[in-house]
Subunit: 95 residues, 2 copies
Amino acid sequence: MHIREFQEMMRSLYLHRDSKRGVKGTYDRLAEELEELGEALKGKDKEAVQKEFADVIAWLASLANMTGIDLEKVTITKYSGKCPRCQQSPCNCRF
Amino acid sequence: MHIREFQEMMRSLYLHRDSKRGVKGTYDRLAEELEELGEALKGKDKEAVQKEFADVIAWLASLANMTGIDLEKVTITKYSGKCPRCQQSPCNCRF
C-alpha cells in the first residue's frame, strides 16, 4: 500500500474525529502510542508490538491530515534513495 | 511509494548504522524526532514541519527493520479500511 493511500484511508476513517480533537490532541495521542510501542518492545508479545507499530503510523497519518501534510511527498522529498546528510547510499555519516 | 518500499530504502541506507545503535538507541532517536516534530508544529516554518514528519516515519521504519517488523503488513492487518474497534467506515467510536 502506498503511504498516500494509507493516509487517505485514515482521512476517510478518522478526519471527523481528528478535527474535533485538534492538532495538539492528535499529537498527544501519537506520543502516547509511541510510549506504548516502547513498552511493547520491552516484552515478548510479538502481536502487541505489531499492533503498536500500526498505531504509531496510523496516528502519524492522522496528524499529517490535520496539518495539511502529504506524508508520502515530504518523505520522498527528504529520503530519495540517498542519505539526506551525506548524499551516500548506504549512508556514511549517521550515528 | 509503498510503505514496504520505503522501509526497504531505509534498510539499504541505514541498517548497518541502526544495528550498531541497537533497538533501544533507535527507539530513543525516534522519540527525539517526535519531540522535534512537536516543536516544529508550534512554529510557522512549514518546511521544518515537513522535514520532521519525514524524519519520524524514517526512524519508525528503521525501528521496524531492527525489530523484524514488516511495517506495511502490520499496518494493513490492523487498518483494513474499517476502524479496528467499531468495524465502521468512517469510524463511529474514536474520541
